[in-house]
Symmetry: C2
Subunit: 381 residues, 2 copies
Amino acid sequence: MAEDFVVTPWEVSGEIDYGKLVKEFGLTPMDDLPKAFTDNLLFRRKKVFAHRDFSKILSAMKERKPFVMMTGLMPTGKFHIGHAVLARQMIFYQSLGAKLYVAVADIEAFHARGQSLEESRRIAVEEYLLNYIALGLKPERCEIYFQSDRSSDAKRAIAYYRLQNLLAKHATFNEFKAVYGAVSPGKMVAALLQAADMLHPQLPEFEGVVPVVVPVGTDQDPHLRLARDLASRTKSHHFTTLASTYHVFVPGLGGGKMSSSDEHSFIALTDTPKEMERKVKKYAFSGGRESVDEHRKHGGNPDVDVAFQYLTFFEEDDGKLAKIRHDYTSGKLLSGEMKAILIETLNAFLAEHQRKRELARHRLHEYLATPEEFAPHKRKR
Amino acid sequence: MAEDFVVTPWEVSGEIDYGKLVKEFGLTPMDDLPKAFTDNLLFRRKKVFAHRDFSKILSAMKERKPFVMMTGLMPTGKFHIGHAVLARQMIFYQSLGAKLYVAVADIEAFHARGQSLEESRRIAVEEYLLNYIALGLKPERCEIYFQSDRSSDAKRAIAYYRLQNLLAKHATFNEFKAVYGAVSPGKMVAALLQAADMLHPQLPEFEGVVPVVVPVGTDQDPHLRLARDLASRTKSHHFTTLASTYHVFVPGLGGGKMSSSDEHSFIALTDTPKEMERKVKKYAFSGGRESVDEHRKHGGNPDVDVAFQYLTFFEEDDGKLAKIRHDYTSGKLLSGEMKAILIETLNAFLAEHQRKRELARHRLHEYLATPEEFAPHKRKR
């Protein structure tokens, strides 16, 4: 079934064969995880399916040594359920004792999308931070920063930008092309800053040398490889090799990639129950048969049914999920009924989430590396 | 006489026709200066011979408005009398009321020369800062900083590196080639940082929009043009167009460019009187005739006589200098005697300078933007 698919930082298309990706990218399948991980549905259900050097993280946990989870966000568009899946990983790692570093890639958005820093800041707060907090992110051991405004501590800020500048020594233009397809001075500084995002937690001004894990979709692997390569060529500081994990893409409503630039493809965490219901009914690709009779006779295909796929992310109960799958495959459960189950599940989730989201607003400053810069009326730029 | 000469950031050779340079580079000759300038021998004797947009500085002075003189230093090799001439301009501008910004280009030295930040810091202090202070640089309204360590104030530091990152949007790879001949990621970030060096004094975190003058040799003009162009394309901040002045090169002892990488070409400000005397006698190109008889009959050529050229920088008294020139041209003064005059002049200068230089050591912290980072025993990196 899976024939042609493309997974690069600038294109994700086709039906993705994750087994093939693991081989092509030289990743290691995610096996033999301790119970702390398999208790989490994303790991138990292989939503996080592969890694590089993840043993560094497992060792640190075992030895009760510090480790860091680093991730970045591109502050464009709506925060959708695809983003929520990464947010859940962040919160999960925090529960395991990781320190979190979260980069708001406003310099990258400036160069790649022509978006002003002010607009990036607004979107980062409204779409990302409020949702992170509502989803359960804790302010302790969590540092959320803007690439354009790293820290209110000068030594830390300087160490970060210094690293960006020094890393340039070890890069070639061709490597940047591998990450961005085409290269421009703007994209190049953004790529260097992104490498600094992943590596700077290990500087003495931050955590010192610690294992760092970066959870990404496979389309982001070239960024990881670039950062790993630059780190390995750096002589002035010894970096522990970056660990990374790879998660499946949450499918878009139509079955492709969920994209914040196509509003028919996503369910946003700020969608009203009505909007969500309308989108699921109208756009969610169904794995059902052409007629009720056909469906009753041959059963539906849950593996391509987007509503069922979403339930694999949002229905915690394995038994319940297995029963839904069984009933769908056997033809007992119709497509409309599958969608109704999802709508009910998401309704409960969104109602609770949106209530928490409004409560989150007054706590933003607890999370930011430059809190005094947060309040819009205090900003001069 | 002047036929082939090359003046680019990576090569200066041949006998330079400054008149031709003014035309080719589109500079404006330095004329009609107020008395404050012509009191200074560098301006009076047209050592500073051309400019761009210098009227912005003259207007600011006239209206008693603030202005900035910005310069940079590449911390490699010995501080020689060529550097001293630029230092004298710095000190002169300070006396006119300018605020000074002095960038130690340690990131550039890292990328262009492979020199570590630690080595750059050592050379910057030992070779540059101590000599600046001994030459009379005042700590008031003077900020000396390392590119890798901009400020102990986080907002300022961030504003500087943010500018570097944002300026990348407005540059092309070809423009970097014009500045550096060949381009690499390292040289590119260094070029962006240099543009930020010239422009950041105008940011709200620093002086706000003020006229800034950058005194350079003509070989550095491509750097200026790049910074001017990037500034003009920046929409998020309005920069006043950079002003720049162009000074002649202090000739090397052999007549070419004085270069810290060729120790037969320069007199260092740390040379002992004996070393200086030996170098002048052995290496200083003479404008004298082949024999004493010939010299007495036809006279020497002060315009190519390096000892005389140095006197035009170090002998303050115009009358005395004119007499030396006259006596040399007429044949009354021999080449050896010309050298003896220079040696006596430099001896007095170096003796006084070196005494002051040792006194300068304990005052370094008054000058640095990150003073707490200065003392080597306090540094962790």
